[in-house]
């Protein structure tokens, strides 16, 4: 079946450094990808998205890269801050509806 998975379950970075969170997906027909941030005790929060006809999209301090050739998605966070500590999920959507989430990567930011 479809799957969206992450390479690393945890990532620890120093405050101020850049973070890169990676994700692999299996369904090449997916047309839309999303990154979510989930803090403890809260629901996932949308960070940034990208459509399959793009390979890069930038937001405020975040960049998403999509490599359809190897079915890989990454989230880059510039100048990581303590408030960025959370679990990050990549998700894919095919045909405009069901969103399939990966397992998540926990990001720890060391002060």
């Amino acid at each position: 079946g479809e799957s969206v998975g992450l390479h690393l379950p945890t990532l620890s970075v120093q405050e101020g450094d850049n973070s890169i969170i990676n994700c692999a997906y299996s369904n090449s027909a997916s047309d839309y990808f999303i990154w979510y941030k989930q803090e403890s005790g809260k629901g996932p929060q949308f960070i940034i998205d990208i459509r399959s006809n793009m390979d890069k999209r930038q937001g405020q301090r975040v960049t998403v890269l999509l490599n359809k050739t190897v079915k890989h998605l990454s989230l880059q966070i510039a100048a990581t801050q303590p408030g960025d500590s959370a679990v990050y999920f990549c998700a894919q959507r095919t045909g405009g509806f069901k969103t399939i989430f990966g397992a998540g990567t926990r990001l720890f930011v060391k002060a």
């Binding site: 969206v4 839309y32 809260k42 629901g43 969103t99 989430f101 998540g104």
Partner: protein, 116 residues
């Protein structure tokens, strides 16, 4: 703008008991979703409503789970009877439009269910 509201926030029950969760989506949002999030995993879609109709319930264990959204606004998710493996956080989300495009979902805080 108020977010997605869920209640209760926590619930502890014994196996074979029944439980119900309530969700109030963001005002005007046509689409409502219920997800199950087991500890250490990503959310898994259980059911999706468009107004008061079911769009997708393919992953809902229908022998014990049921959900309704009678007036196209609030929704309830029920488990009867509960099993140990139902222990999870149940997340409700809503989105403004239909099922096309980049329809951003807004999540509530979830209900943490513990089945003993």
């Amino acid at each position: 703008e108020a977010g997605v509201a869920q209640s209760p926030r926590y619930k502890i029950i014994e196996k074979r008991q029944s439980v119900a969760f309530w969700c109030n989506p963001i005002s005007g949002h046509a689409t409502l979703y219920w997800y199950q999030q087991i500890l250490g995993q990503g959310p898994k879609l259980l059911i999706q409503f468009q107004n008061n109709g079911v769009v997708d319930d393919s992953q809902l264990p229908k022998d014990r789970f049921s959900a309704e959204r009678l007036k196209g606004v609030d929704s309830t998710l029920k488990i009867q009877p509960a099993k140990l493996e139902d222990s999870a956080v149940y997340l409700c989300a809503s989105s403004p439009a239909g099922t096309s495009g980049n329809n951003e979902q807004f999540f509530g805080p979830g209900t943490r269910l513990t089945v003993l």
